[in-house]
């Protein structure tokens, strides 16, 4: 048995098989349980080590060969697998409450498997191809066959596809840089190409216009899932480049550039969020800011190590899941999430409204909530390096706070006298309740993530050391 078989092919096969099931609850249970089991295996059973259970000896080999390429998942990748499949389980269990289980689970499992493969593939440049495959698989997920694809979806496909050639070209040139490190022109060219590739892949300013459009066109829960998993894997893929090439890692200009781009993402995301009149678009700009936080954390790896980047991942995933689920639950008369339609919904959907509010405030970095500890650490780290950047960080946070407060005001301002009454189902209440408790637990006791955070940086040999 090999690790790629377990964590890449198994979810892909189960994803394919789950197309055969029609009950939402069954499909959600299949997706959630599969992911949970895979996370559990990654947590308990070591890779490349014999595990004796009575007379039985189990060993999970780390690699497998596919079409002449290796797929390698080393013991150092195990914490990442726990994180990815653990969070996927959360998203898949939530699909029943969001009413998108049959849509998200099959494709979601395949997308997750492909993205895990992108971490495992060697030579690692092939990751760009696997990410592109995941993007292509996500197209029917975002636009069912009977629906005309919207402008946001087309733009998503264009931008994500454009990333692939840039990264492949960059990789081709990077091999040359390794061979002749003194060739400055080649170095600059490869860095520029790599940068452009990631600008498209991570939807860096101003190439993120597809995110709010997609939020308006597709199910918020489905888009939320993709907005969680794609940037997470893309960021780890990018950190892989930094880990591999010392001249990239040690370039102060590059790290400083990453910080500036992160700050631009945070500030523009925050300012745009402050002026939105649609909760879906507000969520979109919050995710843009979230990407900004991660880029800022990557820019600080020289001083803070990679711990800070990983500290963001779980609160980000949890916050997005709660936000997306709450938005899927809130039903308006005209089916949109425009402020006018959502006025006073807190009285009929108090738990979903609470979920939206807490998720938005967590992104803002309100103390007690999961988003606070990583933002505090990042803000302090930035202030140590440059106080001006810390002030811009504040501007971004204030923008996000304005957006969150406006949304809250809309939700609680009733059109007419309406009594408090919860229209959520018990499954929805349970999922949102657990999620909100999770937000508080991670906000008050961030040390609960420590067992995972201690091991995650080990997947990089040089970065942050």
């Amino acid at each position: 048995m090999s690790a790629p078989l377990i964590w890449i092919f198994t979810p892909m096969i189960i994803g394919g098989l789950s197309f055969l099931f029609f009950r939402e609850r069954t499909v959600a249970a299949i997706g959630g349980t599969t992911s949970l089991i895979l996370a559990g295996i990654a947590l308990i059973i070591p890779i490349d080590e014999a595990l004796k259970i009575g007379p039985i000896s189990l060993k999970i080999a780390s690699s497998a060969i596919l079409f002449g390429r290796s797929l390698v998942l080393t013991p150092a990748n195990a914490p990442l697998l726990v994180l990815v499949f653990g969070m996927s389980a959360l998203w898949f269990f939530g699909t029943e409450a969001a009413g998108v289980a049959r849509q998200l689970v099959p494709y979601g499992l395949i997308v997750t498997a492909l993205l895990v493969a992108s971490i495992a593939v060697q030579p690692f440049l092939f990751a760009a191809l696997l990410i592109e495959m995941a993007v292509l698989v996500s197209v029917p997920l975002l636009s069912p066959p009977d629906q005309k694809p919207g402008r946001g979806l087309i733009r998503y496909l264009i931008y994500q596809t454009l990333a692939m050639p840039f990264i492949l070209f960059a990789g081709w040139q990077l091999a040359g840089v390794e061979a002749s490190p003194g060739d400055l022109a080649l170095t600059v060219q490869s860095t520029a190409l790599l940068g452009l590739g990631f600008v498209f892949l991570l939807a860096i300013f101003p190439l993120y216009s597809w995110i709010p459009q997609l939020m308006e066109e597709s199910s918020p829960y489905v888009v939320g899932f993709l907005l969680w998993i794609l940037p997470t894997i893309a960021a780890i893929f990018g950190m892989g480049f930094l880990d591999r090439y010392a001249w990239l890692r040690n370039s102060p200009s590059l790290m400083s550039g990453v910080q500036v781009i992160g700050l631009v993402m945070l500030v523009t995301g925050g300012l745009w969020a402050a002026f939105q009149r649609d909760v879906g678009r507000l969520m979109a700009y919050n995710t843009v800011s979230e990407t900004g936080f991660i880029l800022l954390a990557i820019g600080l790896t020289a001083s803070a190590g990679t711990d800070l980047v990983f500290l963001f991942l779980i609160p980000r995933g949890l916050g997005l899941a709660i936000w997306a689920l709450s938005l899927s639950i809130l039903k308006t008369d005209d089916g949109t999430h425009h402020f006018k339609s959502m006025q006073g919904l807190a009285r009929t959907y108090p738990i979903a409204s609470g979920g939206l509010t807490l998720a938005a405030l967590s992104t803002t970095g309100l103390p007690l909530l999961a988003g606070f500890p990583p933002r505090l650490a990042l803000w302090e780290g930035l202030a140590h390096e440059d106080l001006t950047m810390a002030i811009w960080f504040l501007v971004g946070l204030l923008g996000l706070l304005t957006g969150a407060v406006r949304m809250m005001a809309v939700l609680v301002t009733e059109k007419e006298e309406t009594p408090w009454n919860s229209k959520e189902t018990w499954v929805q209440r349970a999922m949102l309740g657990l999620g909100m408790i999770g937000l508080f637990v991670l906000g008050i006791f961030p040390q609960v993530l420590r067992p995972l955070l201690d091991k995650l940086p080990l997947m990089f040999q040089h970065l942050g050391r």
């Binding site: 402008r151 733009r155 264009i158 940068g195 600008v199 300013f205 101003p206 190439l207 216009s209 709010p212 459009q213 200009s253 400083s256 550039g257 500036v260 781009i261 631009v264 300012l271 745009w272 402050a274 002026f275 803070a304 190590g305 711990d307 800070l308 500290l311 807190a346 970095g365 309100l366 103390p367 007690l368 909530l369 606070f372 500890p373 505090l376 803000w379 302090e380 780290g381 202030a383 140590h384 106080l387 810390a390 504040l394 946070l397 204030l398 706070l401 304005t402 407060v405 809250m408 005001a409 609680v412 301002t413 009733e414 006298e417 408090w420 961030p446 040390q447 420590r450 955070l453 201690d454």
Partner: protein, 520 residues
């Protein structure tokens, strides 16, 4: 450990009340359990005196390379009077509940106890990180309680607006923490650098309603006296305790005189509106603004004990007045102990109110004394005001016995704190300033029936007059917001429109060229 015991007692009591309400709504001894637990908590706070200074730390935040501090709590000579006043308030709310309408509202009691417990956590917070977390807990609790309580159509918006003002206060507190960390100092209150000290001051001011002067809730009177009083006073004291934590050296800034001017204006405005308020509940926001401003002014003058004295007087004197829901002539007269507590005369609770002035800005003292006189005159007027409230004699026998204890307890603690228990006890203070303030108060009381300008405003006049001025300010701010929103909308439309991809690529090239110029 004692801190933890007190807080656990309060939270356990609140939780028990909620569970009993949900599982056994007919249970008859709910109130007794609440009073007993709160009384025990009160005793434990008194016991803190035997071990002060005391502290405890929650589990340290990890990884240690990312977090310079962890949530921790400590009690010293300045936080103890706040702690005792908050637990006294909780106990008084329960005792006086016996004479209030809707007596059997155990959710409201649980809410009041929880708020006082959170207030206790705030006043014992040992560093900005802990205080920010407790403030957030208080704000979320208040948000939920207010949204569940208010029924007016626009009240929800006002609740959210108040929440956002306080959230900005929290962000400023965290910014102070960040600035402190950036300057290489440990992120503790004791090592706050000057630039962060002023941020802390503004954070406290924003949360108590001093800076800027903002509109109070008009729906506040619809809240019950018990829960409403707990909400307002706990929030204010949890903010004002910060003033006692700011080291004097951290406030040495060229901006200090300007902030002192703001504080004087706020104190005079608060005092004036408080004195002319038609009743104590309508005037409650101005009470907070007036006394909060005096506390800020004391902090700016470098007087931590003075700031604490005003903050504690705000809770104890105000609490006694706001909890008085029935008429009894001797109790009304006893309330005048609150006026004594506010007088800054020797051995009063606020004796240290004007004692220290390291700022050298004595020029502002007359204005502050005038504000103090307005506040005391208003207090006396509201305490002795002929009222339409029901008389104590009309209450059930057991309520007649229990209710006065609640009020007397608040008054007694004010007297005791003048003599014992904290850094500002047993002080003669700046007695001349106290004497001047007292004479001014007497003058105001003499002049009130004689000068129409000093007479109380009719209830229905208060809100519209204030609202119209502030509404203009809000309208102007809204116009600026709309202007920026239009710009944002234009850019979004451009980027998301037909030619969006070309525009995006153009912006991208511009952006890259800017970065390249910045980092050659």
């Amino acid at each position: 450990m004692l801190i933890l015991i007190t807080i656990l007692l309060l939270f356990a009591a609140a939780l028990t009340l909620v569970i009993l309400r949900l599982t056994r709504p007919e249970f008859r001894f709910t109130w007794v359990i609440a009073v007993a637990a709160t009384f025990l908590a009160w005793i434990t706070v008194l016991l803190w005196q035997t071990q002060i200074p005391l502290s405890f730390t929650l589990l340290p935040w990890q990884p240690a390379n990312l977090f310079s501090t962890s949530p921790s709590f400590s009690a010293d000579g300045l936080s103890w009077p706040y702690a005792v006043s908050l637990v006294t308030l909780a106990l008084a709310i329960l005792l006086t509940a016996s004479a209030r309408e809707g007596f059997s509202s155990s959710f409201a009691w649980a809410g009041s106890i929880t708020l006082c417990g959170l207030g206790l956590l705030a006043v014992t917070a040992a560093n900005p990180l802990t205080l920010a977390m407790v403030w957030a807990a208080l704000d979320l609790t208040e948000l939920i309680v207010m949204l569940r309580t208010v029924n007016e159509r626009e009240a929800g918006e006002r609740v959210v607006a108040a929440f956002s003002t306080r959230a900005i206060g929290i962000i400023l507190l965290i910014l102070a923490n960040v600035v402190s960390s950036a300057s290489g100092k440990t992120t503790e209150f004791t090592s706050i650098p000057p630039q962060a000290g002023l941020l802390l001051l503004v954070a406290a001011g924003l949360r108590v309603g001093v800076l800027p002067l903002h509109l109070p809730y008009s729906s506040e009177t619809s809240l019950r006296r018990g829960l409403g009083t707990a909400l307002r006073l706990v929030t204010a004291s949890s903010s004002l305790v910060l003033l006692a934590r700011i080291p004097t050296a951290s406030l040495a800034s060229p901006l200090t005189p300007f902030l002192l001017v703001f504080a004087c204006i706020a104190a005079l405005y608060g005092g004036w509106m408080w004195m002319r308020a038609p009743d104590e509940l309508t005037g409650r926001p101005y009470w907070l603004i007036g006394l909060g401003a005096l506390a800020v002014a004391s902090a700016l003058r470098g007087d931590q004990s003075g700031a604490t004295a005003w903050g504690v007087a705000l809770v104890l004197a105000g609490g006694a007045l706001f909890l008085t829901s029935v008429q009894q002539i001797w109790l009304n007269r006893a309330l005048l102990i609150g006026a004594w507590a506010l007088s800054t005369l020797p051995f009063s609770l606020t004796a240290v109110g004007w004692q220290t002035d390291v700022s050298g800005l004595t020029i502002f003292l007359p204005l502050l004394l005038a504000a103090q006189a307005l506040i005391i005159a208003g207090f006396i007027r509201h305490a002795l005001r002929p009222s339409t409230r029901a008389s104590l004699e009309s209450q059930p026998a057991w309520a007649r016995s229990v209710y006065p204890f609640g009020i007397i307890l608040m008054l007694l603690v004010q007297l005791i704190l003048g003599f014992w228990g904290w850094d500002g006890a047993m002080q003669t203070g700046a007695w001349i300033a106290g004497l001047i303030a007292s004479l001014l108060t007497l003058g105001l009381l003499w002049a009130t029936p004689r000068l129409p300008a000093l007479n109380p405003v009719r209830a229905h006049w208060v809100q519209p007059t204030t609202a119209s001025r502030l509404d203009r300010l809000y309208q102007n701010l809204w116009a600026v917001y709309i202007w920026f929103a239009r710009i944002s909308q234009t850019i979004s439309t451009t980027l998301e429109g037909e030619g969006g991809i070309m525009w995006a690529l153009l912006f991208l090239i511009l952006f890259v060229s800017l970065i390249v110029q910045r980092k050659p």
